[in-house]
């Protein structure tokens, strides 16, 4: 009698615990940060899924947007010019990479006189920061614009978040007070919907060479994909090797399964 009661109680408690945990799991992700809930679209990226890979033309368009728009304020300090020509990325040709790098002036030195000097960029250089230091970067908008090398892995939602952020600037509702110099963007949870970055993209802002319509949505997607590549430049190699490893392990497990069955056969 007593045992049955304890049995029932413990099962009920276990079920309740699991139910509570399961029920609140989705809420956890949404409420992990205070402020308005981020609700944004999950896009069907070319790099999603175990066989996903980057769309070269999209990465090239995204790079154009980074160069013409984002790079004005945002650094990309972990990305080298040479990376633009690596396999699995935008795959610019050698001369193209050289030309891209040479458009930038890079500080080098000290020379024999002990002076620093500027020279055109080369493949081995990283993208130079638009500001001389963090203080200078913070001066214009209050906080330094974040480095974009890893941004797609440094935000929940990754490229979906970036795309949503770039396309969700809107008029502030009546109950939200936006200080002067700020903008309302409900996706920007870290600032409770108030963001210092002015809307960076608008329809038709960047001219595409490949005939893709340069709408705000298209440009936001392209630059988000590009930033996914800068954050995870080995994604394609990872997917490829992962597939091979899994095939190998599945075959090995199969062999070991039958080996185990055979060896244990005389014991059962």
């Amino acid at each position: 009698m007593k045992m049955k009661l304890i049995h029932k109680l413990s099962i009920a408690a276990a079920v309740a615990t699991v139910a509570v945990a399961a029920g609140y799991l989705p809420v956890m992700t949404a409420h992990a940060s205070e402020g308005p809930e981020p609700t944004y679209e999950r896009l069907d990226w070319s790099f999603n899924g175990p066989f996903g890979s980057f769309d070269r033309s999209q990465l090239r368009r995204g790079y154009k947007i980074y160069k013409e728009v984002c790079a004005t304020c945002h650094s990309m300090e972990y990305v080298h010019f040479r990376d633009l020509g690596e396999k699995g990325g935008p795959e610019f040709s050698g001369p193209e990479v050289k030309a891209i790098a040479a458009e930038y002036q890079v500080q080098d030195g000290p020379d024999q006189a002990g002076d620093m000097f500027e020279r055109p960029g080369e493949g081995r250089d990283t993208f130079p920061s638009p500001y001389p230091n963090e203080e200078a970067a913070a001066a214009s908008l209050g906080a330094p614009p974040p480095d974009l090398s890893l941004i797609a892995k440094a935000r929940n939602g990754g490229p979906d978040y970036i795309h949503a952020l770039l396309t969700s600037y809107t008029e502030a509702p009546a109950n939200v007070k936006v200080p002067s110099g700020g903008y309302y963007n409900p996706v920007f949870v870290a600032g409770s919907g108030v963001i210092a970055m002015p809307p960076p993209l608008s329809d038709g802002q960047v001219d595409y060479d490949d005939g893709t319509p340069n709408t705000l949505d298209q440009m936001s997607q392209d630059v988000s994909a590009f930033l996914m590549w800068t954050a995870e430049p080995k994604l394609e190699a990872r997917h490829r090797l992962g597939f091979q490893v899994l095939i190998y392990l599945l075959a090995l497990s199969g062999i070991l399964f039958f080996a185990t069955r055979k060896i244990w056969a005389d014991q059962h």
């Binding site: 045992m3 304890i6 049995h7 413990s10 099962i11 408690a13 276990a14 615990t17 699991v18 509570v20 945990a21 609140y24 799991l25 956890m28 409420h31 992990a32 940060s33 205070e34 175990p50 972990y78 080298h80 990376d83 974040p146 480095d147 090398s149 890893l150 892995k153 440094a154 935000r155 929940n156 870290a190 954050a231 430049p233 080995k234 190699a237 990872r238 997917h239 090797l241 992962g242 597939f243 490893v245 899994l246 392990l249 599945l250 090995l252 497990s253 070991l256 399964f257 080996a259 185990t260 060896i263 244990w264 014991q267």
Partner: protein, 424 residues
């Protein structure tokens, strides 16, 4: 490693070796002729899996350390250098980072298996305690390792954990300063954490050797929890029986591991750690890695900081005295109807504690009238049960529970399982 050796050197060289350094004999006795209960199930393959994971972590870690720079100015950049420029550096780092998680998945399964089948009871108390020591060392190693990439969560996690020592009465602040090597977390802290992160796995390795030694003295427990009575009827030699079964278990485990490394390498980590540490920017929500969340929940559940620290360490300390808290004569939960219920309840409580650890503490679960039931309240109830389970139910159950009849021997249970329908 002990007992009567059945090894006979077969040629001149092995005879010569055997009378000088009987290392081939040791290997033979440990991994070939060692008798294994024939009724072990796949939950027993996790010991081998854990040994494998330790070796994986040490090998990947040693290579990563060749490229990593333990200074606050360069640590984050050196990790990115590994990810981008070192040949297959991304495989090494993702394997090492996800390997830590997989290591804990395996160790939790291994520990709960021990709890379910009563593997901690006499004569395996030392074996169990050594295991608890390995677990404690693993948590310390994982914590040190998490600090090394010098991301936001590295820095703030280190801040939270080292500040815990500040709760020690009178000397707390001095202890914290001593641990940091300064008045705040900085270069000396990172450098010593790197040193300790490199040292601890070898300590773990040493304790693992003792753990396996102790295991081979007492022999393995088994699902029915009765000792081996007749070696010929109850056991099979380790090779080929356990070797092939462990290899199969490991291979299946590696599929899960490979899935995370290659297709979801960042799903178990925190996005904050891809932002370089900034001592003036506190993240909204500081959380440890998933495997430490239950302890974090216990820590936060207590209103007093010192009390929280004591309970958190107490929740691990209680595991060390488990063999003497359990009063039941019967090992396996298969024959302990009440114990089996509270085992699952306790597992659910641990998972729920982990969930609480990942939530904002003042998050409201539900409201009754004007009273808000927050995550903190839920964590308090769960923490209470965690200790109640070990300190009250463990001793009590052995006294009031009426266990089911235990089979006479392992061989009888294997044959009986064939003849009559399984009762468990």
């Amino acid at each position: 490693m002990s007992g009567n050796s059945t090894y006979t050197p077969s040629n001149g060289f092995t005879r010569w070796m055997d009378s000088r350094l009987p290392i081939i004999r040791l290997g033979h006795d440990t991994a070939v002729s060692y008798p294994v209960p024939k009724n072990l199930n796949y939950w027993w393959t996790f010991g081998g899996i854990l040994t494998f994971m330790l070796v994986v972590q040490i090998i990947t870690g040693v290579v990563l350390a060749m490229h990593y720079v333990p200074t606050t100015a360069l640590a984050f950049a050196s990790v990115e250098h590994i990810m981008r420029d070192v040949n297959y550096g991304w495989v090494l780092r993702y394997t090492h980072a996800n390997g830590a998680s997989m290591f804990f998945v395996a160790v939790y399964i291994h520990m709960f298996r021990g709890l379910y089948y009563g593997s901690y009871k006499a004569p395996r108390e030392i074996l169990w305690i050594l295991g608890c020591l390995i677990y404690l060392l693993m948590m310390a190693t994982a914590f040190f390792g998490y600090v090394l990439p010098w991301g936001q969560m590295s820095f703030w996690g280190a801040t939270v954990i080292t500040n815990l020592f500040g709760a020690i009465p009178f000397v707390g602040q001095s202890v914290a300063t001593w641990l940091w090597g300064g008045f705040a977390i900085g270069d000396p802290t990172l450098n010593r954490f790197f040193s300790l992160h490199y040292l601890f796995p070898f300590l773990i390795f040493g304790v693992v050797v003792l753990h396996i030694w102790a295991l081979h003295v007492s022999g393995q427990n088994n699902p029915v929890g009765v000792e081996v009575k007749n070696k010929d009827q109850d056991t099979v030699p380790f090779t080929p029986y356990a070797t092939v079964k462990d290899a199969f278990g490991l291979s299946v485990f590696l599929i899960l591991f490979a899935y995370f490394v290659f297709f979801a390498p960042n799903s178990l980590g925190d996005v904050e750690n891809y932002t370089i540490a900034h001592p003036l920017k506190t993240p909204l929500h500081i959380v440890p890695e998933w495997y430490l969340l239950p302890f974090y929940a216990i820590l936060r559940a207590v209103p007093s900081k010192l009390g929280g620290v004591i309970l958190m360490f107490g929740s691990i300390a209680v595991l060390f005295i488990l063999p003497w808290l359990d009063t039941s004569k019967v090992r396996s939960a298969r024959f302990r109807p009440l114990f089996k219920q509270i085992f699952w309840l306790h597992l659910a409580v641990c998972i729920a504690l982990g969930w609480c650890g990942g939530m904002m503490p003042d998050h409201v679960l539900f409201s009754v009238g004007s009273i808000d039931f927050t995550v903190t309240y839920f964590a308090r109830i769960l923490s209470f049960y965690y200790f109640f389970h070990f300190l009250v139910l463990f001793p009590l159950l052995g006294l009031i529970e009426r266990p089911k009849p235990v089979p006479e021997s392992i061989a009888a249970s294997v044959l009986g399982g064939r003849a009559a329908p399984a009762k468990a």
